[in-house]
């Protein structure tokens, strides 16, 4: 067995947690003002409160806010893909690939209900050979 085979998958974003039974996104909620973010900050970016942030498990359902159908990206990046901005039901906003839907404007009404699914990061591995876990969105209706 090579070392590569023994490496545990890693989270592709810092706010993806892999230490539970299922992967999930860990959000941050400010107790002082109710602002929600995915990233960590020294103080709340909305109100400036310190020591006010608690973590929580983000919901996996939300609505499509905006998207772009990307047909040219950086060299080597497979296209097309749908770059989507999703407002989760609790108000946390995430960006991800929207999958299992046609890459056509007619198939992508704004406000469309979507759910978050987790999976391998499209086969991408790092210099150690480790694989990664990412989230994607797909239509839920």
């Amino acid at each position: 067995m090579t070392q590569t085979d023994t490496l545990a998958p890693r989270p592709a974003l810092p706010w993806i947690r892999l230490d539970g039974p299922e992967p999930f996104v860990e959000g941050r909620l400010c107790r002082a003002c109710g602002a929600r973010t995915a990233a960590t900050h020294l103080a709340c970016p909305a109100c400036g409160a310190r020591d006010s942030i608690e973590t929580y498990r983000a919901p996996t359902t939300g609505k499509l806010l905006a998207y772009s159908i990307v047909r040219r990206s950086y060299p080597g990046v497979p296209v097309p893909f749908i770059s989507a901005i999703v407002d989760l039901d609790d108000g946390l906003t995430l960006k991800g690939n929207l999958i299992n839907v046609a890459a056509e404007p007619q198939a992508l009404p704004v406000g469309m209900p979507v759910r978050m699914v987790f999976g391998d990061a499209l086969g991408r591995t790092d210099k150690d050979g480790a694989s990664y876990v990412a989230f994607f969105f797909e239509p839920s209706a």
């Binding site: 890693r10 592709a12 806010l65 772009s68 047909r71 990206s73 960006k95």
Partner: protein
Amino acid sequence: MSENVYILGIDMLKFGKYPDRTFAQLGGEAALLALDDAGLGVHDVQAMYCGSVFGAYDMTGQAIMREIGQTGIPVTNISNACATGASAFREAWIAVKSGLYDVVLAVGVEKMPRGMLGAGHETGISLEGLFGSASMPAVFAESGMEHAGKYGTTFEQFAKVSVKNHHHSTMNPKAVYQKETPLEEVMGSEMIAYPNTKLMCSVNVDGSAAAVVVSEKKARELGLTRAIRVLASALASDPWNPRNPIMPDVNGCTQLAAKSAYEQAGIDPLDVSLVELHDCFATAELLHYENLQLCGLGEAGRLIDEGVTALGGRVPVNVSGGLLSKGHPLGATGIANMYEVALHLRGEAGARQVPGAKIGLTHVVGLGTASAVHLFEKA
């Protein structure tokens, strides 16, 4: 403190590719042109601010002084994304407004790397195409589609922005392109990131622009004939927005800067005769009609349909051709916008002259985020 601050001289190089010229040569040439326009020389300049995104780390401002005369004045290099040139100008304005100096030079210069610009942080793997796209065409496409979702703005309305700005540039010899692009050509060109086609993306070029900023005292001493009064200089960073920076917010920051500028100048948005705004992508221009209060929320699509923002309309926008057709060398763009407005206020814009232009507005916004809005009038 100087009661008023003026642009006495301003100029730019034609935007384009300058592979054989250095940052310092490009910036220095624009600086000399601006000094000539002001009727001043390098020995009159008391301080200099140099804006450059890709040259700021390399002490480009000082290198420009080696090109035009090393007088030992204070030189500061500024990098502030696409607001870089306007930020350098604003530092010059502050330096004169404070009363510390009477003559300050602001230069914006850029040599652009090849390819598509983007942000995006890396973990151990590339995230592009894994969590959507961080490329600029896609990011600004998403901002446009948010507007489309709210107000029903269409692909065709976004495309009309490119038709208009490319048309304007046919009258601007300093634009990189002078070519008409009919609607079918804009909508039918290579789709980069829906709804932004290739002709709806700004042009990656090199370039430079410079302005000589002077005090009330100096302007009166040298004569106000061609002076441009700075009515307002506003700079904002991105205020809290729950979706930013997952979805970069170019609106909140622009709205803040615009509000501050109108307040400083004590004018109504309807008083503005022409606007040079940050059309880095066609989708962005429509958002900024509303952000800059040229119309109400949701009315931007109607403005482009009715020709309100075309040359001949109520408030012509980007008569220079804009970033879409004049070109977008990041650090130079902000001052080049001011050059365009100055031409119109002086009545020197030739075929594309906005008749009777009294007040001009310039706007830039760089992701990360920085937005600058300036207001000018003929002295």
